[in-house]
Amino acid sequence: MSIDVSGGAGGIAASLTDLDLAVVVLRRTGCGVGEVSASILRVAVDPVLLGAGLVVAQHDPGRALEAGRRILELEAEALAVGGLRGVAGEAAALMALAEGVAGSVTAYRAGEAATAAALGRLQDVAMSAAAAALPVLLLAASVDVAVEGPDGALRRLDQLVFRHPWLVDTAAGGLDGLLGSLGPDGPGPAIVLGAAAALAGLTWPPRTEEEAVRILSGLASLGGGLDEDSAWAGVDVSPGVTPVGRAPTAPSGVAGLIEDAIDLGMGDPGRVRVVQVPQADGSSAWILQLPGTQVWEPRPGPDPFDLSTNLEAMTGEATLAAAGATVALDRAMAAAGRAGQDDPVMLTGHSQGGILAAALASSGRFRAGHHVTDVVTIGSPVGRFPIPADVTVLSLEHAQDPVPRLDGIPNPDRPTWTTVRRDLDDGGPAPDPDRARGSTAGGAQPADAGAPAASAPAAGALAAHGAGRYLVTAREVDAAVVAGTSRSLDAWARSAAIFVGHPSPAVVTDYHLVRSRTDPVVVRDR
């Protein structure tokens, strides 16, 4: 069960970028070699050579023949070296190589785009078919629940997703196809979905996955759920406290980041963690650690790290959780006398924490006030977030974890975005998740934290999402960095070196966030 690294400095996009540069170099070199060819060919027809022969013949007739032979050889050699079998031919060969590579790169990119589009259409078609078969599917699910009971049915679903995680991709990626099939031309829910679309400020049917998710969010709002705006106006951020039992050092590596995520999930709910890592030059690097989902009630409560934040962050809405975390980071920087100092910031989190990290990194407003250089997401669906290319991203995903698949697309392959995937399926039977559960689908629950979950055999899909299992993966990532076996991870480690892997002291501060109905009202704008 080794890790698979894609994207990043060793990824396909980086390779294509390298090849783009190679094409430029080859074309430029081809032109330069062509100029050299012309220069050499001018020697072959240079009248100075004839003049030299005349001088020798005139002043030293005895050596005229030898001089004439030398001149003829020189002209022949200049023609050979400068001509099509020499430098001119080499210029042509370089241009041909450049154009061949350029054509291949263009064809590869076109093929990638066509494949992505075809897969998107396939997902839509599959979910349209699922919509048509919805009554049958509901009947089958009802029979399953009746025979197995709710727990048994959930267990079967958990194992089904573990064995066939692509089902999540298809369902998420084909959401617009599914909703479109249920629309005005389809069966019953047309009026409700149309109203939800209007509530979300969209027209029916949805054209993209993002619009489909926003319409579903609007649908939930119609029922009074998943909309924090309906009941909450702001967020209170408590004064910072030093966490008990957390050593005041920078995280050891990716594993250290996940240990912080687990720690946040085990203590009081609603906490974010800010780690200040002082640098040798007197500046500081800052890590903002965001927790996973802590409340699964559809109606938003005081804890901002809940289901509504998941949905709103995924649809690009501003959230009180992100706003409160921003206040916490600003307070920590101000307390250290580093407010407005352009210190580098790493945003990180497991599950919802990763979603919020990606949302903040994608926010122009947040970046305007913070120098975001790094994002680390653990088991989070972040492929659709428009994180700028100059931000280095590391995403850890388990092949059997349904959560990072919820966006329906793979993470971008680009030189600054590395995705590490680990396959937890060893081919054996998926153990009973009741016995081997590593976590809930949410954030780091106590069961996530310890070695038992981390070392447990492959369980169901929900356990594959547990932070404890990701800790094992993170240790493999850290080991790969030490071993230098991945160009992408090496590049990531260089970028993240100011944040993690330091034995140096750090200042660790936790802030408690609670939604409030009145003051202080945090401006909610992304």
């Binding site: 070199t29 220069s39 001088v55 005139q58 030898e66 001089a67 030398r70 001149i71 020189l74 070296v81």
Partner: protein, 84 residues
Amino acid sequence: MDVQGELRSRAARARVDAARLQRFAAQVAAVERVAWESPAAALFRLRADERAAALRSLARRVEGLAQHLDALAVDVRQASERRR
């Protein structure tokens, strides 16, 4: 400039051309260091390596041309001296 001086000038220019070819060879050799890993990448590296080697070989031949031009300039100088 007399014929001998013209020949020395041509030889110097040929040496500049040879140096340019060596520099181009180094640039082409550098494009082998792409991150791309595949059988096609191996073929690309092979082709780039061939081109770089060919440029280095041509640079040596152009250097030889420069030496020929210098030798011819010597012939011209000796002929002129014999006249005096």
